[in-house]
Symmetry: C3
Subunit: 136 residues, 3 copies
């Protein structure tokens, strides 16, 4: 069985954001066992799983990703869409366009400290669209 639906995430400012609650609110009743694939249809944002408790973790993520891919790199040639654009593409691929999460006992089988992150890498982005595919 496969069920598929779209989620339009609320727009968020640049940075890393916990979206677990928003995802859970959009899911139908879950099967006992299965897998959920989330796929973001954008190339300047990404998805990952990480720490769900301390907001300072998400701030440090933004700090470190900005160091890994600095905006002012003089070697960038794709610069017409703004200083944040090319770094956003790279960060999107370092993170991921897609994550797959198991479903166990009718719930997402996230560990105690795991949440779903949106990495928003543009300075002024709108809503981000996810394709959710549930198979069981």
């Amino acid at each position: 069985m496969i069920i598929q639906f779209e989620i339009a995430l609320n727009p968020r400012k640049r940075g890393f954001h916990l979206i677990t609650t928003e995802i859970l609110g959009a899911l139908p009743n879950l099967p006992r066992i299965g897998l959920l694939n989330l796929f973001i249809q954008h190339t300047s944002a990404g998805l990952t799983i990480n720490e769900n408790a301390d907001p300072s973790v998400r701030i440090d993520f933004e700090t470190i990703f900005n160091k890994l891919v600095p905006e002012n790199d003089p070697d960038f040639i794709h610069v017409l869409e703004g200083k944040d654009d090319m770094p956003a593409h790279i960060k999107s691929s370092i993170l991921n366009a897609s994550i797959t999460i198991p479903i166990e006992n009718g719930k997402l089988a996230l560990g105690t400290w795991q949440g779903i992150y949106l990495g928003e890498f543009r300075n002024h982005a709108g809503s981000r669209r996810l394709i959710c595919t549930l198979y069981y």
Copy 2:
């Protein structure tokens, strides 16, 4: 239902390459809803989803990945297979061996600006083999 087949990608020079057309050409008729998993059977190349329009994005990807994992790092100890070899392994894991793409309305549900990238990290590589698994 699961269908599985292999694709031997055309050899490409070192760098990031858009392979969407080559993948689409190898796919059978797609179901209305499903998922496609692409898995590359190599440890010095990788797959990701990113911008499909401006070739300068792929050039900047190569530039930045070479800065993230410099070839001349004196701390590398795995050096017998060439200066490009150990960085290729690291880059392969920063990118990914495998991507999962949803199928919606009988098509890959890529966003408007999304394409499938091969990251080729060796200086002189041959054809790369992908295992494609389609489930629906």
Copy 3:
């Protein structure tokens, strides 16, 4: 068909470790065709696919990941759980919480040189729990 089970990995010291044999030993008889999803329920460790032969590759992985995300970064604000904690979260997302591997002819379809890696990013971690989901 979906089968799901948990694996408690043996505790390992900080670094990159080949866990292919441990995973294979925990798997049931595999179907002819399918996919295996491995999901680690922790935010300071990760999974990837990489070179399975030369142990020096895993040492270089540890070296480079420590350079990508240095422990002594004065800009970290999430520091209460130890100097290794925040870098561990970042490394976990650079690697991955989850990998999907095709099954072909009743075996994991890993390439000749591919193995499954655990990236253990804490100095003193215990057993790590994986959710394994096999669908075919």
